[in-house]
Symmetry: C2
Subunit: 370 residues, 2 copies
């Protein structure tokens, strides 16, 4: 059975909501869940849900605070986040989940696990609601300043995830820009776009903010600054619209009655729009499975983040990224002559340039053997 360690101390509503979400997951998702953190409060919460025998508690004395700098968190060797990563590295669990400090998740993850071969920097992959199976945004916040080859790597990782986990055949990949014309965008997006155009992904060119969620594009590629702005703008807009609609339903008796009658379908619509349903965001590119849940996660969001961890493990996303990049092409269903196939494969491999030695943003630890 897949085994997931959950950082019980991470998130605005930890440990209560985290423990509850872990219990839901253990009962509903067919996974084994372990909670990492301070034993006493975790066990008290487990007792409230009569789940002490259901979930193992892994003791960790320290807590990574939300506002701590990544370097400070690296020094806490017995934090719940660090211990979860250590268990991942030792192969005692298949994946980890935390709703805590996402900068620390990235830093500790790079320190403990290292990156997959040929990946320079892990990226946060978010799946947002859409007409269809969901839209991937990568990078949703991990890397603020990027080079073109990083965007290429994000595109490859995002495409593999959309195909393997979301089940989208030959995902449409686009670079997020301020207009569709090639002349638009920044130096970064233009350079990355040129390389992707020559490559083997199903690259459709620039896409705009308004394409997200329409199904026009399956994988939206951008740097982490822009991705974070887009993702949070979606959240804010959804919140605002729901608030306006709620007010309108409360204005007068006919509206209230109307709401009662439409209730069931409206609740279904809300569920489709509820970001908690989509759970956590994988930190792709690490040599292991780590899922970042929203800081404000409630039990349902934690449960769904555990589901994302389970699916990322089950679909061997990391093996696909590190070894089988060629699959992106094969899975398009086209039968290619072996020679063409080799050419395409080497072209994809060229996408993933080797990082220059001594590069500033390079992970200091070597890649872990897989």
């Amino acid at each position: 059975m897949t085994r997931i360690a959950v950082d019980a101390m991470g998130g605005d509503r930890a440990p209560g909501a985290v423990v509850q979400g872990a219990v839901l997951a253990a009962r509903e998702l067919g996974v084994e869940v372990a909670l990492v953190g301070q034993q006493a409060p975790i066990e008290a919460e487990l007792a409230r849900h009569s789940a002490k025998s259901l979930i193992e508690v892994i003791s960790a004395s320290e807590v990574v605070e939300m506002c701590e700098s990544p370097s400070a968190t690296l020094r806490k060797k017995d934090s719940s986040m660090r211990v979860a990563y250590d268990w991942m590295k030792q192969g005692k669990v298949d994946g980890i989940v935390s709703a805590g400090n996402s900068g620390a998740m990235m830093a500790i993850g790079m320190f403990v696990l290292g990156n997959l071969p040929s990946v320079d920097r892990p990226a946060i992959l978010a799946v947002v609601p859409s007409i269809g199976k969901g839209t991937v945004i990568i990078d949703a916040g991990a890397n603020v300043e990027c080079k073109p080859r990083h965007l290429i790597q994000f595109a490859v990782m995002g495409s593999i995830y959309a195909e393997q986990v979301l089940g989208i055949s030959r995902p449409k990949v686009g670079i997020l820009s301020n207009g569709e014309e090639e002349a638009k965008g920044t130096e970064l997006t233009r350079a990355a776009s040129e390389q992707l155009r020559a490559g083997a992904l199903n690259y459709i060119g620039y896409v705009e903010g308004r394409d997200i969620g329409t199904g026009n594009v399956d994988v939206v590629v951008c740097d982490g600054f822009v991705g974070n702005v887009a993702l949070k703008t979606m959240e804010g807009t959804a919140f605002f619209i729901m608030k306006v609609l709620k007010e309108s339903f409360q204005s007068g008796l006919p509206s209230r009655l109307g709401y009662l009658l439409s209730g069931r379908s409206l609740r279904q619509a809300y569920a489709r729009l509820d970001y908690a349903e989509y759970g956590g965001a994988p930190l792709l590119g690490l040599n292991g499975v780590a899922i970042i849940a929203h800081g404000g996660s409630g039990p349902k969001a934690i449960k769904n983040a555990i589901r994302v961890a389970r699916d990322t493990v089950a679909h061997n996303v990391n093996r696909h990224i590190s070894e089988d990049l060629g699959k992106i092409v094969e899975s398009s269903g086209e039968k290619l002559p072996k020679k063409v196939w080799q050419q395409i494969k080497s072209r994809i491999e060229n996408f993933i340039e080797k990082p220059e030695p001594g590069e500033k943003d390079r992970n200091t630890k070597g890649d872990r053997e897989s």
Copy 2:
């Protein structure tokens, strides 16, 4: 009476929707409207609305295409956009509106009118729906690569607009970033944030995408790439949510009945969320009043863009920007000792650094005397 020239040939639905919007504005908004473009089709449309005597037609033989490069459009000396700008420059109209190529609006505007003193680059100011009087996003798409001083200028212009036109006293100004902590953001946002923090605007620090529309911030400052992504992401999210809700209301008899009962309040909610209600986006920083309407504008959006032009003229936004920057402080309602006041005033003036001579992005024409 305020006189507005409208580019009848600009936009996906020109000239039909543009002429209809101009007629609505002339009838409802207490402004004099002139339409610029090819005489025959404009007059045919005017005849359909029995409005030939209501609106003057200014003849212009050429049309700026949506996909044309700014430099190509500059060569069309008899385009409807160019002629509208010429009339603005000659003082024959008080403002102009176009739903056409926004890059051309910017390029021709800088060429014909020049910038206001101390403004390096015009920026697109968009007002989006919010809990409250609306939220300003500046720059919403004009300048992809910015320096810190450009963001400072956008902040000052946005604050003046929010105060004068939207009637928000001492507007809260924030820089759009990927997190609220000072350490977040890019080199650009950190440098601009430090300067704004030392300044006299009501600067509240970094804001996130999810703050837009909540009323937490009145003026969201960003470069034009990020602003465009945020704005279009809002549009896309609103479209997606409305689509999901519409489907939910059509699923079964109780929902349909519910919709009928809630209809009136829902329509009010839709109107609050309808971007067309907010009309056009001023191109602030030009030495004149120019409003960019959405390319897909229908009659209502055109009418509202004309309303934005009228209000921008009526509130003397440009005079405030070029001469009365100090007003930002005075309007806070605080009585300041004259000496403190002078210090603050000179500090604000320092925000608006003079552009370096021979700078690449510098407008080639001199600033027009005002």
